[in-house]
Amino acid sequence: MAIATRGTSSNYLQRAPSPSGLADVLDVILDKGLVIDAFVRVSVIGIEVLTIDARIVIASVDTYLRFAEAVNRLDLSQTETAGIDELRNGGSKGERKAKGALEGAKEKIPGMSSDKERSR
């Protein structure tokens, strides 16, 4: 029952006829649907799945630090900014060009995790 597709999915647009994965299924059926008065409804079944990490984005220092971390880890070798990096201090933590292990270790920023977890 897929919608008429213009060929296969591309990099910029992915099509799926049905949700796969818990988050997508929840998006469709949780708290979405006809509302039945409390008068007749005995119970909405509570489910432990709500302990799934449903991220609520709250502006906070932690959020800012995560953004900064992500920006600092960028490999900018394809942009002009990379040129400036190379001239000044040998580039970002993510770059690997022609750098000895010792040099790399010196510039390593402590406390930066490699956690690339993305919020959904």
Partner: protein, 249 residues
Amino acid sequence: MAPSATTTGVYVYGVVRADELPAVSADGVGDSAVEVLERDGLAAIVSRLPDDFRVKRRDLNRHLQVLEEAFGETTVVPCAFGTVLASEADVETALLSQRRPELEAALDRLDGTVQLNVKAAYEPDELLRELVAKNPDVARLREDSIRLGDAGYPQRVRLGELVAGLLDERREEDAARILATLSGVAEDVAVDDPGEYDALKASFLVDRKQLDRFDARLEEVARSLQPVVRAEVIGPLPPTAFAGAAAAQ
């Protein structure tokens, strides 16, 4: 239909017209059978729950499968996951009979439509790279915080704050653009809270006859926003995001 002596309640998946009863082969929630209760030209798709019923993750999929099967054959007004009424009598009288006008209105409104869930998400590195390239403040703070290492904590906070603000602006623009492009070919739209790296998360109610146009416009706007944005569309889906609104009209 004599109620089972051990029934906890009646789980309701959704409402359809009684003269268009769908054949549902899927197992219901709690492995119970999927049945139909009729009254006054309407029918509720239900399962009688056993006493020892406890929700499992697979019940989420069951609920959706039942809806999808019914939706494949007829117009459905879906109920939210976890809707349980006390008894079959309650389903027939309090729901189907007493709320008949709303339910009929909802069915009429939803006839011939499908739901499409659209998510436009940012590729984080692409987005951040673009922010660095286009914002000298960001580039400068990035260099400073890298150079300063541990001592660059204030710079990192300031950098993150700046990026967060720019991302918010970008999200607003992109969401507005996508909505403007797609709303013209949709009957209705319901916008959800986007995730941190999402531009937009929304459900669209689309007339089946407009599906091709909707898809073409979505393709177009997604292509125009690449590579920073990557879009996904799921559907056609039963119109869960629009059942309440349809009934209220």
